[in-house]
Structure formats: structure tokens, C-alpha cells
Symmetry: none
Subunit: 191 residues, 4 copies
DNA sequence: CATGAATGAGCATTCATTCAT
DNA sequence: AATGAATGAATGCTCATTCAT
């Protein structure tokens, strides 16, 4: 009888928004941003096409919001740079935690890699990506420098590339890729 | 003026086909398979749209033929499995040669990575990709096994993933990625 | 706090209705009927979309009610046909008054002209428009006939067309169109 | 058998382009630019939706090309400003010719008036419209100035507005609007 | 061998309207 | 009386593919 309160509306929006974003992550991950159609997303989310535009300005906006929130969550959960210094134990934890999050949000990280290789789409989110990569590489560089290793920058970027490569291989073939064994080797070799 | 011989026709076909494929590799690499349109390719190749379909059954067929020939060329040039055994020197050569080919065919390998992350497109060519990956991993496994290293399979897959990650980072940002320094570290650490 | 009386409800409805119509006139004038969306109107009126449909059956109904009331007001304020006879002084007053009302309700008359040139929309309101045009032309015809001018009908329609053209030019470019000078010339030439 | 020559293709394009523009003029005139859909136009032209975009970049481009060519034709046919001076006979000819062209291209001039009253659409073509209006008003001003009439600018703009109003009334109701009689009165009163 | 006009399904997006609250 | 989430048809536009020449 009485109209819904603002709080009720806010609740509806929050929930529906999450449903749409979850559906979109899956479809984007499977089809890439360009290959995914808004229809596929709304069908998976169980809503009409029009409604998506009640929540997001455009397909691009939808992608950006997904990436923004995903990266923010990643940064928050995984604040490696608390004090800017990495011990060997923290290094191991850092590798461990990366793979834990990878497994937890498989779709999101598939989407991440599909974006990286597509310059046209990358421009939409690269500023946000840099928010992770910058501090990440800096912390690693400091770590290797503190250990007295020559060319810490190259070591840092190598480890970054290694984590990319391992993640990508795992995402493409999660069943047979021996990620746990590989994790141990990485920690052993790069610690 | 005189009617062209069959041999001449064949020659023309071969050359035109190569022109189209080269144009397609560039466009696919820049826009990904889904983002590239046939029009972009024919425009870059300087031919009509109809002619492309005289040489290729479809956009998918074009991609497949590009991948097939690219991989075949790669395997031929880069026969890692000559005798099935890798010495330490050969290992260094192998790393070196991988990066040399990467730099030589930047467009092709960009295309390669954009395909890997897109399941829909991956199915078109994954059998061919396995033709490299299988022997490649086998040779590495044998190498590590011969050295008496525990879990040679994990080491082989790790190195494969590492090469993927480094290659991808280089392709995304060829200017500032320190590939030469990294190459040395890889050889040193994984030899 | 105390339950509102029926009279208060009626008052609220009347005011809200006026607010919506005023907003709609502005948006229609600026964007035309086809170019204006219901969202634009409700946003300008500061109400929800649902509420508009509480007051009007449809976008078309909203337009019709605007036109109906606007024309009725015009006829009431501007009763050219008081006694059916026009003196020369009354003629001058009539021209004068027309332009005064034009300036007063710029949005309404912009809407009027945008409707006239769009047959699909015109059918919705043309009967109402005729309620002005008929007596208006009749009075002018009588005026010219009484002056003994040949072809009074053509003179009447010419003056009608002239007023249309001058009004339209003024509405399109109110700043530089010399409406006061033109008014004098009209009175002088057509009196 | 042999492929079509470039000349043949050019011929096809020219003819099809004309068919599309003619269909578009009619639909735009009847529905206005905003109210006309590309589907309506292609249906009337008897072609597929895609083909329209082989000939025009967008709906806006289509409108612009229609207006550009229509105005150019008008200027060419009707070069009132040959020597910049208007005699009384030329003035009569000018009025006459205007109405002749109006009757000849009814759809085009309906479109013209529907554009004038819609600012959003007007911006697409107003530069082109000014190519007519500027010289047109200048010539008229010179004419009235040469006759020693006070305020020639107001007279020029009044006649311009009058021609607009008469044209518009004729286009809205070509059957009963006495355009021939009115033409004579105009020539008589404004010569 | 070669052209490019032509198609039609599909794309992202908009919008008048409905309805549960 | 009032809200705004929700719908679905329609919009302007793109694109892989076909085909007459």
C-alpha cells in the first residue's frame, strides 16, 4: 500500500546491481569484453535488457565498475605494502595469498587477462590496473634490493611476469596445472 | 597479355594469400579476433571483400590458417626436439631463440595471447597449440629429470608459464620491459 | 497531520498538474514532441515517472491537454470576435496583443509551430487549432470586406500567414529579429 | 562474367543514392527528422537497412546531404543576386520563382520548416541555411534602400518572414490555401 | 581472378509505459 | 498521492557473408 521507502529502494538496487555484475563477470570472462553482448549478460542475470541501463550507463561503464570494485577489493584484502618492507615470510604469504585470490575469483582474473591483451579495452581500465602494479613492483624491488641482489628491477618484473604466466596457465587449464607444486618452487627460487 | 599459365595463377594465389594473411595478423593482433572486422582486413590488404572469401571460407578459417602456418613455421624454425635431449648450452640457446622469434613476429604472438584468453576462439586452434606445447614440455621435463631435479613436470610447466608471462609482458609494453636482463636471469635460475 | 479534506486533495492535484504541464511545455518547446522523453519532463518537474501517469494517460494526452488549455486561455484572453466587427484601432490592438502574448508564452508558441510542421502530431490537436483559426480568419475577412477590398479572403489568409511567419522568425531568433519595427509596418500596410 | 567496371559501379551508386535520398526526403517531411526512423526510409526506398549505411555515414549525414544538395540546387536555380540589384520586374519574378520551387519540391520545403523549429536538428544544417538567407536578405535590403524606404532592414526581414509564413501555410494545407491570389497581393504590396 | 553492392541478423542503447509497494 | 524498478519493442548502426557481373 504505502510506497517503498528510500532504504528499501537502496537495498533493491544494491542486490540487483550485484547480480548484474556477477553475471557480467562470468560472461566477460568467457567471451571477452568485445565478444560478450549485453543480451548474454541480461539473460544470465535474468533481467530485461532495459534494466541493465537503469544500473549502468553503458557496457563500458559496466566493465569499469567491475574492474574498479574488483581491484579495490584485491588491494584491500591484499595490502602488501603496509609498511613497505617485505620479510621472507611475508614474501611466501604474498605468493600464497595471490593464488588463493586467483582461485577464489577465477572469472574476474580471466577477465583481467583478456583485458590486458586488448589495447582498445585496456585503455578503459589501465589507470586502475596501475594502482596495483605500481606499488606491487616497488615493494618487490625494495625486497630484492634489501637482499643485495643485482638488478632488483629486472628481478621484480620477472617475478611479476612469472605470476602473470602462472596465473594465466592455471586459468586456462585449472584441472591439470600443478599450481600447488609450482607455488612451492616459486617461493623457493624467488624468495 | 598471353594467357597466364597454371603455374603463374598458382603463384598469384600464393602471393595474394600471403598478403591477406599478413594484413589479418596485424589487424587481429591489434583488435583481437572478435574486435577485428573483415572490412578492416581487406582494407589493410588492399583488396575487395569478395576476394577474401575467394581465398578463405570464413573469418574463422582465416584465423585457423594463420595459426596453423604460424605454428608450423615456429616448429620448423625452432625444433627444440632435435634429438630429444637438451644440454645446458642448448637450454640457453632455447631461451634465446624463443625471445628472438617473439621479437621477429610480434603481431603473431600478440594474436597468440589474445586467443589463449578467449575460450570461444581457443577451441578453433587449441589442437594446433598443443602440437608445440606437448613436445616443448616433454623436452623440458626430460632436461630437468636428467639433472636429477625433483618434480620435473612442475619445473617444466613453471618454465613454460614463465615464458608465457615474460612474453606477454614484453608484448604489452615492449619499450620499458627489460627483456634482455630478464633473459639472463631466467637462464641463470632455470638452467 | 489531520487527514486532508477532499478539497485539499483537489488543490494538490491541480497544482501538481500545472507543474507537470509547465515542465512539459518547456521540454516540448526545446526538443519537440518526438524529441522529448517522459524522463526529461519528470526530471524537470521534479516528480517520479509513475506520477506523471497518475495525471495524464500518455505522452500524447499530456500534449493534448497542454494545447487544449493553452488555446482556451488564448481565446479567452484574446477574444477577437467580441462583436464580430473590427475597427482600425482594434486592428492595431489585435496585432499588438498577438505579439504581446507571443512574448509572454514563448515556450507555448514554439511548441505550437513545432506541431504544425509535423502531420503525425498535428492530427492530435488540429481540431483545437481550428477553434482559433476559424473565427480569426472570419473576423479579418469581415474587416477587409467592410473596407471594400477585393478578395478579402486572400487578404485575411495572407495576414494570418504573415503573423505566423513573423512569429516563427521571432521565436527562432528573438534577439536580432526587429519585431517592434515590423509590427509598425504590418499595422501600417495591412490596417 | 567479367567484373563490373568502375563506371558501372559509379552509375549504380549514383542512382541508388538518389533513390535513398528521395525516400528520405519524403519520410523526413512527413515525420520530421527525429520522428523518422531509418527503417521507414529503407522500407520506402525498397532496400535493406544495412545498405543505407553503405551510402551515408549516419542518419544525420543523410539529412545533411539532402539539405546541402537541396540548397545548392535552390541557389543555382534561383540566383537572385546575380548583379546585386533588383528591379521591380525582378522582384515580381523573385516572388513568382520562390513559389514555383515551393510547389515543385513540397517535401523538401516541409523538411526545411520542420528543421527550423527544432534547435537540436537545426545545428546540423544552419550554416548551409545561412548561405541562402544572408544574400537573400541583403538583396532585399538594397532593394528597399534604393527605393528610399525607411528602415529597409525591417522591411527585408518582414518580407522574409512573410514568405516563410505563406510557404508554411501552403505546405500545411496546399488545397485550400489561395496561393496565387496571395502572390499577387504580395507583389502589389511589397514591390 | 576480382569487385563492391546488397543482405539480414545482431549489436548497444532508449524510452513510453506498467506495477508492486 | 507517489515512488522508481522493471519491461520489451524499437532505435541507429555494424558486420560476416553472398552474388551478379
Amino acid at each position: 500500500m504505502s510506497p517503498r521507502t528510500k532504504k528499501q529502494f537502496k537495498e533493491i538496487r544494491k542486490e540487483k546491481r550485484a547480480i548484474i555484475m556477477e553475471a557480467a563477470i562470468e560472461v566477460f570472462a568467457e567471451k571477452t569484453f568485445m565478444g560478450a553482448s549485453v543480451s548474454m549478460i541480461t539473460k544470465k542475470a535474468g533481467i530485461s535488457k532495459g534494466l541493465l541501463y537503469n544500473y549502468f550507463d553503458s557496457k563500458e561503464d559496466l566493465l569499469q565498475q567491475i574492474i574498479f570494485e574488483g581491484i579495490d577489493e584485491f588491494i584491500q584484502v591484499f595490502d602488501v605494502n603496509k609498511d613497505g618492507v617485505l620479510t621472507e615470510d611475508e614474501f611466501a604469504y604474498f605468493i600464497d595469498e595471490t593464488f588463493r585470490l586467483l582461485k577464489k575469483d577465477i572469472h574476474f582474473w580471466k577477465l583481467y587477462f583478456s583485458i590486458i591483451v586488448q589495447p582498445d579495452v585496456m585503455v578503459l581500465v589501465q589507470d586502475k590496473f596501475m594502482e596495483i602494479l605500481g606499488p606491487f613492483l616497488q615493494t618487490l624491488m625494495d625486497y630484492y634490493e634489501a637482499k643485495g641482489i643485482a638488478n632488483p628491477m629486472a628481478h621484480a618484473r620477472l617475478l611479476g611476469a612469472l605470476m602473470d604466466g602462472v596465473s594465466m596457465n592455471y586459468l586456462v587449464d585449472p584441472v591439470s596445472f600443478p599450481i600447488e607444486d609450482i607455488k612451492k618452487i616459486i617461493i623457493d627460487k624467488f624468495k
